[in-house]
């Protein structure tokens, strides 16, 4: 378990980097080294967890619940690896591009710390604390660059998400009041014995909080202006790493802790997911800037995750994990491409576009396939048809907006100009290669998602 130490490395590095000048090259590379070490730790931990099963540690050597429970299970480590990888890619990108603010590397590492902690904790209030570490780091990161646009985006982002955080906090406190514990596994057991209404209302509040983070319709209105206003590297991190809080939180709370409440609210999840998919896609179609298209696209894409969670069961949760992973990689790559020029960028962008649209061999088709699987497996024929038709329509619209913007940017010559440095573009190419790899060797992601879904009890 000293592996936690490796994850904690990003914490140490973040503190030290806080007093260094991040604009210097060596400081930038130091931060990359620190995060790489943390990433290696996360990967190592993931391998252990996936091989041997869930690992658990209680802070202070106390009994579980008295001390804070840290729990690394398949679901958590997958999201931790994914988020750390995304942050690492964005950090390398920005360091190569030249960091323009002293605090940037430190804040990125704090963000990674917060996210990893959140994915690996088994305690509801501790979840909130790590959640806030990640959030406050991202508030500061959105302002990165400190231009008028960024400041404006940061204010909107911080206000709206602070509201979401407060809602989550209220939800956690309510759970404590209802169950007398903060340990997630224990809450899951004890809520069974509590009357439905208060737990359901708590579940609603928590759902709204995660909906805000995830940018679900109708909680998404902050998202486009923030994603387009901030710098590409930060937008990549927001959509590729921070938004994972939402999908992970919904999976964890909906699939494991508030199982009964998720089942009651399944219809609402499906309706909101549908609204997200259609609304996001329709908005994306005629947007002029690629960053804006991608921002609206991510609103649509998270709708699929919500649908999968709404369907639930091993197949539904596995589909949600597959979709969340693929979507995070796609969005990271797309946002990074927004800041780049040159023909290799077009190749990377189009791979991500194929992935979003679900065209193999880019990995995105797996997410669509998993959703179709979940949809077809639904008990009621009407429900199955509705889900399949919805995913099909959503997919069709994603073809339209992805290829329109690709052609406009990379074919119609709107992105002409001096090519970006090769090193920067190769970051995008590496991400593109990862997306291709997932598509060509589906077992990797499918196996992972199956294992993650088996952690969750709902419907299984």
């Amino acid at each position: 378990m000293s592996l936690v130490f490796l994850i904690g490395l990003s914490w140490f590095f973040a503190v030290i980097l806080g007093v260094l000048d991040g604009r210097r090259r060596w400081v930038g590379w130091l931060s990359v080294a620190g995060l790489t070490a943390a990433f290696a730790g996360v990967i190592w931990l993931s391998v252990l967890v996936l091989r041997d099963g869930t690992l658990q540690m209680v802070g202070g050597d106390w009994a579980p619940g008295v001390g804070i429970v840290l729990r690394a299970d398949a679901l958590g480590v997958i999201f931790a690896s994914l988020s750390t990888a995304v942050i690492l890619a964005a950090l390398i990108y920005e360091v190569l591009d030249g960091v323009s603010s002293r605090m940037f590397p430190s804040l990125m590492l704090f963000l990674a710390t917060g996210l990893n902690g959140l994915f690996l904790t088994g305690d509801a209030f501790n979840f909130y604390v790590f959640f806030e570490i990640a959030m406050i780091a991202s508030y500061a990161l959105v302002a990165y660059g400190e231009g008028a646009r960024q400041i404006r985006a940061a204010f909107i982002f911080a206000t709206v998400n602070l509201l979401g955080s407060v809602l989550f906090l209220i939800g956690v406190a309510a759970l404590y009041h209802l169950t007398g514990t903060l340990e997630m596994a224990e809450i899951a057991v004890r809520t069974q014995g509590v009357a439905t209404v208060p737990v359901l209302l708590t579940a609603v509040v928590i759902f709204v909080a995660f909906g805000v983070k995830l940018g679900l319709f109708p909680f998404h209105f902050w998202l486009p202006v923030v994603y387009t206003g901030t710098r590409p590297a930060v937008a990549a991190v927001l959509s590729g790493a921070l938004a994972n809080i939402g999908s992970y939180g919904l999976l964890r709370f909906g699939g494991e802790i508030l199982v009964r409440e998720r089942e009651i609210g399944a219809t609402a999840l499906l309706v909101l997911g549908t609204a997200s998919i259609i609304y996001g896609a329709l908005q994306a179609i005629s947007r002029r800037r690629s960053s804006e298209v991608i921002a609206y696209s991510s609103i649509g894409q998270v709708g699929y995750i919500l649908i999968a969670i709404g369907i639930g069961g091993p197949v539904g949760f596995a589909a949600a994990v597959v979709y969340a992973v693929i979507n995070a990689l796609n969005k990271t790559l797309l946002f990074l491409c927004c800041g780049l020029r040159g023909w290799l960028v077009g190749a990377a962008f189009v791979i991500a576009a194929f992935s979003v649209a679900g065209v193999p061999p880019a990995g995105g088709f797996l997410g669509k396939a998993a959703l179709f699987e979940a949809g077809v497996s639904l008990g009621s024929p009407a429900g199955a048809i509705a889900v399949v038709v919805l995913v099909f329509i959503g997919g069709a619209l994603s073809f339209v907006y992805m290829f329109q913007i690709y052609q406009r940017d990379f074919w119609a010559g709107e992105k002409e100009g001096k090519a970006s440095p090769l090193a920067l573009r190769s970051v995008a190419l590496v991400l593109a290669a990862m997306i291709l790899f997932i598509g060509l060797w589906p077992e990797f992601l499918l196996g992972l998602s199956r294992q993650a879904a088996s952690v969750l009890s709902g419907g299984g």
Binding site: V66, L107, E132, G447
Partner: protein, 819 residues
Amino acid sequence: MYNVPTVRNTPTIRRLEGEHGSKQNRKHLELRFSRSQTHPPEDSPLTTLAVILPLALALVAAPLTALAGTIRTAWTAPVGVATAALAFAAVLWGWAFAGGGSVDFPWAPTWNLRLAFELDGLAALYAMLATGIGLAVVAYASKYLPLHLEHQNRPDTDIPRFHAFILMFMGSMVGLVMAQDLLLIFIFWDLTAIASYFLIAYDVHEEESRYSALMAMLVTGITAVLLLIGAMMLYVEYGTFLLPDLIETAEPGIYLTAAAAFMAIAGLAKSAQVPFHFWLPRAMAAPTPVSAYLHSAAMVAAGVFLIGRVYPLVQTSQFLLDALLVIGFASMVVGGILALSRDVLKQLLAYSTISQYGYVVFMFGLGGPYGAAAASFYVIAHALAKSALFLTAGAATESSGGETRLSHLGGMLRQQPLLAASSGAAAAGLAALPLTIGFFKDELFFEAALERGMPFPLLALFGAILTLTYMWRFWTGIFLGEERGESRPLPAAMLAPITILGVLTIVGGIFVAPFASLTEAAGMVSFNAETPISPAYHLDLRPVNLLALATFGLGALVIISRPLWAGAAGVFSRIGEVLGPQRWYDFSLTGLNKFSDRIHWLEVDTLRSRIVAILIPLGILVGAGLLVAAPAEAGIYSVGTVESADIPLIVALVLTAVAAVAATVPRNHLTLVLVLSASGFSLTAVYAFFGGPDVALVAVLVETILTILLLAVLALMPSAVLKRSETHGSTPGTKRRAYIVGGASAVVAFLGVWGALSRPTPEESVAAQHIELAPDAHANDIVTVILADFRGLDTLGEITVVGIALLGIAALLSRGRLW
């Protein structure tokens, strides 16, 4: 790498079924082999190689050529031709000498996906077309493309991209035809779409190219998703993606029909059948070699290939067969008539392709062994002829200096006799004249129609007449009539492929046996049973021959009577332009964009509305939750008891709440901050009366610092700016709205909070343990020990948040310096 199986990984019932299915599959494969005369009974190194070698060579052709081309542009064409030739040779060897074979590796056990390839009859047929015609096209392009680029003033460095994508096209076709796993088929299916997307957009600076590429991508890409849906439907039901297994186990019924229909639609869209046909003529924006390939052996052929591949599933439903008949016939007629009215060479050929593949679909719809086999034969005959004709069109255009319209060409017979002869053979082949392979294609076609009975032979006759007519128009339009201008000589590399293809058309008309045996092998795969055919010349008046004679006779009549119907064809084409599916496509694309603009106007763009957009749905969801769950449970809310000791607490609470509400009133910022801190300090008192001295102390200090910070920031802002905001934006309307939103959210918060607090507290709680264990942790202050020991990680997180806030403030206000 990691191992999937874990203790907690519980297999579903479906998965068990899947494993069961794959065992069955083994047996089934053996069965199929023993039935087949051409395949050796079991796997051997040779049969494995027979699959792997062609596949590998076809797949590496593109990357190799791209690499060579990147190193030196001049290497592109030789390497491209060599790799295509090797791939062709490997396919030929694999089928004709090694006798085909199969390989099967696990790919993704979680979904029971397999890397299963088989070089069976169907695969061999299409793979030979893909590699053979690919070879011809690449060879042709090595001369054509430099000329093309020269016309457009583009650099030679654009060459490798072209060859790489053409060869990628070829590789993915070979993969597609050999794949046995539906998801593998889907991947190669979309790979061909990707290759065609970039090839159609090869002249990327032209808007027409971009428009056409987008259209091709949207039509074929979106319909490909249906293939995926069909595959997933079958997987969910039968636990496997492997086609032979599915054919064995799938039970006829509405479910199977739906799945097969989805896959068939994907095939029809790719084959440019009505109503998806509009993308194909547009794809002519690509350079000519692309069109030649796309129409004869790659993209469009892939569509009918897919139908042939899943035909055993399709033919379980009479409804699907009838649907194929209707669509095939519609495409035959629409394509044929439009081909008659086109003036641009490639357009004419494009519509002819739609019509020709309409025949194939029609034959699949006819069903029976003849239908399945004849469809395969038809594809061979068409591919040879059509690729030659497209290359002819390119050659004619090149020779005449860029003329693409039939009405401006003519009389080339004397200047280009070889071209005229070769393309004449090809045109005759398509028109089904005797002594060409085309004659047999129509013979089988009529045979299948006759087998099905009236009125299908008449429909077939109608289609055949159309073909004869437009082929006549095409060939005579270029080569007969008066000479128009000077004709430039053509390079041998451009003429040779046409000649070879033309010769093959004739050879096939004389020695039909090898083509027939290949067709039988392919037909057997589609039909899932033997499909004996015997194409031959019979000099008697059997119905097939009568139909052929009728075709020639009536065709001649139609050609002669052109002035009578030319106008009608033009009107038909006009109607198609106004009401046809391309119009719908354009309309829906621009409509979507306009609609998107319209709803974007509705998109919320102020912070206030963004917040309202969270609070209102929250309220609705809370309300919905109450409605759903509350009726079942009585006594959700309890008022609670008040004791005399609570009075100070109540006073402090009232003060806190009243001050908070009062904070919404003042205009002056200073007053605002003071009222806020009044509320805050009262809250501190609440904490104290709650029995929380630690909390009260921290709250006092935090409140102090917060007030100071607020005052300091206010002091930083000029009073004029603050004054301005005091008077600005506080119209009665906005004020009222603010209070309504505030009031509503108060109600929602009240309902939620009261509901939670009304619950009786649980009997066991972790707090009791904390109280008990505090002395163990050497402390008297239980709160502190929770903060520093039991839940130290929370505190560590908390001060980290404090630290990040400091960094953030520094980043914003002092350029990130803490000093």
